[in-house]
Subunit: 344 residues, 3 copies
């Protein structure tokens, strides 16, 4: 689908400078944008990026200008950009199920909100509820007493185990399992005896969870994924973990039991976090790092074991120079031997 | 659910010293235990841990005492603790399916034991058998000639491929695939031609397998998971691997083809093991390590490539000191140059 | 199943030197082959391997001989070996579904080719097509407008999202999700706003995909898996990635968005590839490596961050010698101090 620049200007109540017939096919960040994209300037201090972006048009503040570019001036660039994004999403041809499929097995006491859709062969157990306008695709399993908030979207073949709570506007992709048992045993005379996992999982509002993710229920109490956090595919989140709000957890990350992740934390791909530690707000962990100690707010770390990113880079640079150091040591040794000979 | 200390003392035939009205809500190891938990002292040599545990009560040997704590004296602490754990599990309100759901498709010749439950839309193919009191949730696929032993529990959306054997008291979590083809090809004139994977998988008794795990069938013969081994989420076990008894295989571990893991081995999170090697009994591999050589019994290793953990820590300490070494080398070089000048 | 050497010689039109009654139970590469296997010599320059292989028999070129071994002489060894492999596969007792199961829900306009089988409870949405002789097991979801080519095999509980294209002779294992949304957000005033993922996934001919794999749809355009590429279990392939032809992508690999992988690339287990880079034809990335820069054709790399494998090994050898270097530095320092004292 496409929107013309003229349409977009009208939608956001903005002033268009440029060709209103130009067709926009998508939205993107200012650095990643390509031809056909609309982007926006969140903050005038990034205006150099506005000059070099490859986007076909930019939403900028009222007082600004961008010679040589097509742009739309508005009062609030963020608000305007979100309006356009949402219009794109509304207009997308979606193939979501409509209504309740006759093969869906829904216990008689399940509370189904207005406008809910449930796909073929989905099973929804007793005591659970699905909030209004939520869509549950086919082949899903929603366990006893689970709750899915309104306007959420659950793709085929998702398992939501008993008692799990999912907020509003959540998106859960296929193959994901929420609320499986935490990994806990007591070893009694050489046998690992299972510790009952009696808690649950709480997924707050506006969370998106990728495909084939696993989120374990807590031993008691709850595992929590905070509001607005986005989880990529094949991520593992162990029991009793708390993930804060608006985090980005990239593919194949693993977080061990009882660790506490702050708000706005970024865990890049394949990161591992050991149990019972905390990662402060806004911390960034680079890809494949292994976090073995708590990390302060705002810190950036890298490596396995992870260390502050500047130290990690410096250490790595030294490691790369080891051939040179070894040669220097050998040379110095020879020169010392000669000095020692002379001195005798 | 809760049990009072008085009830617990009665259950295990023990002598309670403390308030019988105190409510216990769970069981845990002596180090991890929190308020509300019962724990136990496996061995009198750990009695300092019994003095500092946060558990609300401790099961201890008959001859011991623990001033200032609530405790229950018994002849066999391990046995008594297991009795309490099992009582908790029995009393848990479970929501397992009961009976055979009318939508389950079970081939006429399948042997279904007494008390078996099969959930909605599960498919069980010809020639297979489900042992007594086992529970197969909905949306599962049990292939031709597969066998699930008695008292096992299989959560929704598990795939057990043809011919796979699962023992008694197994637990398999959602999204797990057992018996998919091993990854084997012969390259013929630039094309990878599939090698048929004709073997199977054997899961012995008392194994628990987490969510979204993959266990490949052997090329011939069998891939084996030994008795009592516990596997966490998103683990990959390749064809012809043999995992011994009572191992702990933590989340996101990958074990390549034909490797042999001994008994009581611990593979921590995100560990990778290359193919065709062996890991001895009781070995421990620290998180994110890459095992590229066989490991002897009892050895502890870390790193990628993995090395004995003490060496790995020493090596890592040296790596962290590289800035210092580099500065020292520079300083020594200067001093040698001066000595050389003087000597001329 | 077994084939006698006499049968095999007849099948490939070859000349057998050895006992025609010997039973062959499988096929394997010349290095991996064991007793009971047939193997082949692709190139006369590998004849030393033919002398030491443990295979029970070898297919070799017409002009060769192998004293002390059973062998079959043919004009084209690769062609002959493939014929035998295919005969084994044809003869395998398979338990694939036959015909369309009455519980499969197939939209009226779906194009179903001749000889297609669809298992119980599979859902195939409107506008899609399944090519002739393809087998879709039960519990699968084939989305709107998706296309599966002829002679493909899809195991239980696979999700093929709307619009995804799968070629001929593809094999997809259970739990795999193809066409889930790419991981893309724009951060607007502290909230991560979803970027619509409007593209699709194209799986070319002769691709095999393991269990619990995730392949994201492109933002626009398409994510591509090239002809003949083989993907192991639990692999993650992000949006807009292009994987070339005849690659081997081993278990738990993760490839980030928009990266381009050439032909005949090998990514060993647990490798991570960052986004927006390219890996040249025939490159090999060793296990657990983290690829953070583009790699040239034919290059072999190792480490996190990855570097050319020889450098990585040399660097690693230096790292292992750090204790020694540190001791040498200490010794040199002492000797310099003594020289300095003397010189005063």
């Amino acid at each position: 689908m496409h929107l013309s620049l003229a349409d977009i200007a009208r939608l956001v109540g903005g002033e268009l400078i440029g060709d209103g017939n130009v067709e926009i096919s998508g939205c993107s960040g200012i650095l990643e944008a390509k031809k056909g994209d609309l982007t926006f300037l969140a903050n005038p201090k990034y205006s150099p990026q506005a000059e070099t972006t490859q986007a076909s048009a930019i939403i900028i503040p009222r007082q600004m200008t961008l010679p040589g570019k097509f742009f739309i001036r508005v009062d609030n660039t963020s608000l305007a950009f979100t309006q356009v994004l949402n219009r794109f999403i509304e207009r997308l041809p979606n193939h979501h199920p409509k209504g309740i499929h006759p093969t869906a097995i829904i216990a008689p006491d399940v509370k189904i909100g207005k406008g809910v859709a449930v796909g073929a062969y989905t099973v929804i157990e007793s005591g659970s509820s699905i909030g209004e306008y939520s869509v549950i695709y086919g082949h899903c399993y929603i366990g006893h007493g689970a709750r899915v908030g309104s306007n959420s979207l659950i793709y085929p073949q998702v398992v939501v185990r008993e008692g799990v709570l999912i907020g509003q506007r959540a998106i859960v992709h296929s193959g994901t399992v929420i609320g499986c048992d935490g990994y806990g045993y007591v070893t009694v005379e050489g046998r690992h005896v299972k510790i009952p996992q009696l808690g649950t999982v709480v997924i707050e509002d506006d969370v998106e969870i990728g495909a084939n993710v696993t989120i374990d229920r807590a031993r008691f109490d709850k595992t929590v994924i905070g509001e607005g956090t986005k989880i990529d595919n094949l991520v593992h989140i162990a029991h009793n973990v708390t993930v804060g709000k608006h985090c980005l957890i990239v593919a194949q990350v693993g977080i061990s039991g009882s660790s506490r992740i702050g708000n706005y934390v970024i865990l890049a791909g394949q990161v591992g976090v050991v149990g019972h530690l905390s990662i402060g707000d806004g911390a960034v962990v680079a890809a494949q790092s292994g976090v073995s100690k708590s990390i302060k707010a705002g810190e950036q770390v890298f490596g396995s074991p992870a260390q502050p990113i500047k130290e990690a880079f410096r250490t790595n640079a030294h490691v790369q120079r080891l051939s040179h150091y070894a040669a220097t040591i050998k040379d110095l040794k020879k020169r010392i031997e000669e000095l020692e000979k002379k001195g005798q």
